[in-house]
Amino acid sequence: MANIAKKVSWSSRGDDRGERTPLLNGAEDGKHDRKLSEGAMFHIGRLSTVDLEEEITPEEDIVRSRPKEIPHNEKLLSLKFESLDYDNSENQLFLEEERRMSHMGFRCLEIRRWVICGLIGFLTGLIACMIDIAVEKLAGYKYLAVKENIEKYTELGGLSISLILWAVLNSAFVMVGALAVAFLEPTAAGSGIPQIKCFLNGVKIPRVVRLKTLVIKVFGVICSVAGGLAVGKEGPMIHSGAVVAAGVSQGRSTSLKRDFKIFEYFRRDTEKRDFVSAGAAAGVSAAFGAPVGGVLFSLEEGASFWNQLLTWRIFFASMVSSFTLNFFLSIYHGKLGQLSSPGLINFGRFDSDTVQYNLYEIPLFIIMGALGGVLGALFNVINYWLTIFRIRYVHRPCLQVMEAMLVAAVTATVSFALIYSSNDCQPLGQDNSEEYPLQLFCADGEYNSMATTFFNTPERSVRSLFHNPPGTYNPMTLGVFTLAYFFLAVWTYGLTVSAGVFIPSLLIGAAWGRLFGILLSYIASSQSIWADPGKYALIGAAAQLGGIVRMTLSLTVILIEATGNVTYGFPIMLVLMTAKIVGDYFIEGLYDVHIKLQSVPFLHWDAPPTSHWLTAREVMSSPVTCFNRVEKVGRIVDVLSNTSTNHNGFPVVIHTTENDEPGKICGLILRSQLIVLLKHKVFVERASSRLRQRKLQLKDFRDAYPRFPPIQSIHVSQDERECMMDLTEFMNPTPYTVPQETSLPRVFKLFRALGLRHLVVVDHENRVVGLVTRKDLARYHVGKDGLEELHLAQT
């Protein structure tokens, strides 16, 4: 850190760019900087037209080589994020352990995997059930209190007091949730789906799968949904499932400092990530009652590391989770054993008689899909700018809490104002589908139609938009509601509260979809053809959600499963397809936008197109810090303690006499392994004494996982620094290597398919010339002017 600070001060001395005019000029300053940073962005064109004779002006060289500060933007890669070690290190210890393990032992491992998956499903379902009940209770109390107050003041006068009461109640709930998130665990903010996507992609997001995160997440979700924000509880469920999976599979919690001494074999990234994908699937399954959708979600997000047996296990976890939720909810609702509520959200049954669709409606559905794509893109663009603003200016926790409270208060205000000014009165339904009907100024026996959409938890609103009979809403109400809710939802996503975007998207879509359906029946002469606006609400919801999140296969299946209607599969697929195509024309999906804004080195499905001319030589980092097969402890400690080069993998080379010449590769060793070795003082000089002790086993490495102690905490005396360490036994003797001429897409494929963390680049004599890591690959992306390169930055 000190090193970097020094560099910064040096840069600001250089020219006026470094100077910061404080306060009032902030805006101009930001613009100025952004322009500069874009100018300094490396635009890589085609080689064929490059004029090689062009001289390099010294100023530009200085600009490039000097560390500098820029405002946060999307074109950065953070150093904070590291890769998961998905690749197995086949060192001698590993081989020994495998030899020792009997056939029975492997059988037991397999059985344990199944047990863990069952547990993951069970616990995830239980958490979903808890969230559901808590939200229902809290929101129930809140709405009852507000309703009573409104009824009282409608008669006596003084409705502004009810408005204030509602706003204060909302803010209070949200404040508690936001305080917990902002001060205790900022990773729990948002829906958690971007984070899980990154984790499944192979990026280790700090603290994302800890027990503390889970607790804050669940608590935060309950608060924010009960606080009436335009959010849902489905996204966080996926995160919760993933955390449960990571926790259960390790058989211990480092947050609680409890080790149950079970499942020790699974304490490494490879196994953990497989279980996390099962957990994410279980989360989806519990959230939407969509077990198959859950499996497909994991497949879609983590597709590169996959096998059939794993799929089957994940499906098992999904089913168990759905069943558990179902079972406990049936107990809660007093209908033990009646397993009819499979998910947190229940879209209700679409009765196939009343909501058939016809061939001639398919073009209409496609139009709706395109509309959803456009609206979704608009959502993402607005949210993108808002998020950049938040990262730059609203980064202090207390400010974040205040912002969340303000949003809650404004949500209540807008809702109240719209309900107050609405003249749309509808007779009470016979089956009392409205939980909290508000009469306000309507005639007795009627209720305010606007209130059914606003004065309710978002899920119930979605359901009433899907299923209320035609004529329940008038078009004006729906139009105003869509507009207001759209902006509220845009504004809400990205706040420092844990909350998902699924339900608000569905709600917006359902509202304009229903509006679309109603307008159709106005246009058409015969009413009977376009009888039910409910199905247009469903299609609109699908279009809007698809336009915002841009998920494809899994979302289609999730929606089919959640509505329980396979006949809608085709239209839903068409709509999601259209929405994705149209939306992608403008901007990426919301989750991808947020991943980018968090500067995560995310590897997409393929290398950027037109990058075949880039070879490993240009991509790699060089020179590489290598260790000799038998290395001096002092050097290892020095290299590991160097904060400016936070390297994680070190090629091990055969010792060469000349210092400059790179050595021949014979293995790869990880920082974590070295730290464990240093901790146990596995030095050559102590070999004799070590014989008396226990020999180091793979178990010792697993025990330290996943939080290896930092190098500073390991004390190495001056004498020990002179000792030597033999790495032969512990290094991975067969790391993946590529020649220098390998093209970028080829390297990319290796990374994506094998889940590599380090790829050694060698010359024709097998000498180490460079090292490719995830960040070297993730920095290339296709911008407006062809290939662009992202900057590495400290965040």
Partner: protein, 301 residues
């Protein structure tokens, strides 16, 4: 043979339905004069022929070897009578709905005879009429007819207004009707002046509403009370237009705009006073050759 049996029952069915309608129409007290006059002209020819004897002669019963025994025929005839009475009652009190108050005795007797038929108790002569009357054909008419009426009774939730054995109106119902009548008489009193009415009848109307709300919670409401309440509410809100005035728009707008103003202040102040978050760029180590390559390309751009 089968076809013939079916035919018999279809005839029987028609007959029963027509009798029902016809009998209802014979009670003109509750019908509007217009429809009462029209209906008989359609129905009379059938109802004239549909005496018990005549439709047995129509169906050529003598051809069947296993004839219904006397006991079952008797049951059937009782069923017919009670069915007709009950259906008659339902239609009579259809609008405004007063079926629960007026038809419960008829329903009870119909239910009795239905239970009697459907029970497997052998009557005199050791015959069970259950099979011969109810289950000997596809249509299962007696069952279907009763089921429909029972469904109506259940969806009307009449049980909730009656005592346990369905013998009398429950105390709650009686009390509610009394309260309702108070309100209605108040309405009548002020028929001329609506603004007076809204003021003076408010107390009794509010009492009625509160009572209704309580009964709704206790689930002691049936269709009669709901309908009566509905009509009263409509009288109150629509006919007399005793709506609550929307008179405090100004404070609501003031509070709302204050609330909406807050975020603007918040964002402006955080924009102006908060330190912008900066990222420190790090320059990765690259091979010499690649660096120069980059420079060349960058230059070109």
């Amino acid at each position: 043979m089968d076809v013939l049996t079916k035919f018999t029952f279809v005839i029987a069915c028609w007959a029963v339905i027509f009798i029902t309608v016809a009998d209802c129409s014979n009670d003109p007290s509750e019908m509007s004069g217009d429809s009462a006059r029209k209906l008989p002209s359609v129905v009379i020819p059938v109802s004239q022929t549909s005496t018990l004897g005549s439709f047995y002669s129509l169906s050529l019963s003598s051809l069947f070897p296993e004839d219904l025994n006397e006991y079952c025929i008797e049951l059937l005839s009782i069923y017919r009578q009670r069915y007709v009475t009950y259906a008659n009652c339902l239609v009579t009190y259809a609008r405004p709905v007063k079926i629960c108050q007026n038809c419960y005795t008829d329903f009870n007797s119909l239910e009795d005879i239905y239970k009697n038929i459907s029970s497997d108790h052998p009557g005199p002569g050791n015959v069970s009429c259950h099979d011969s009357l109810m289950r000997s054909d596809r249509l299962m008419l007696l069952y279907a007819l009763f089921n429909q009426l029972d469904e109506i009774w259940r969806s009307a939730a009449c049980k909730q207004c009656l005592t346990k054995e369905q013998e009398a109106l429950s105390n709650d119902t009686v009390y509610f009707m009394a309260t309702l009548n108070q309100s209605l008489s108040c309405f009548e009193q002020y028929q001329k002046n609506h603004s007076e009415l809204c003021k003076d009848c408010k107390a009794s109307y509010k009492k009625l509403k509160a009572l209704y709300g309580r009964m709704d919670k206790n689930q002691t409401l049936c269709i009669d009370l709901e309908d009566a309440m509905n009509i009263t509410q409509q009288l109150w809100s629509k006919n007399f237009s005793c709506l609550l005035p929307r008179e405090e728009t100004v404070p609501v707008i003031a509070v709302s705009s204050f609330m909406l103003f807050l975020p603007i202040i918040f964002y402006l102040s955080s924009f102006l006073h908060s330190e912008q978050k900066k990222r420190k760029l790090i320059h990765p180590k690259r091979a010499k050759s690649s660096n120069s390559l980059m420079n060349i390309q960058d230059k070109f751009n």
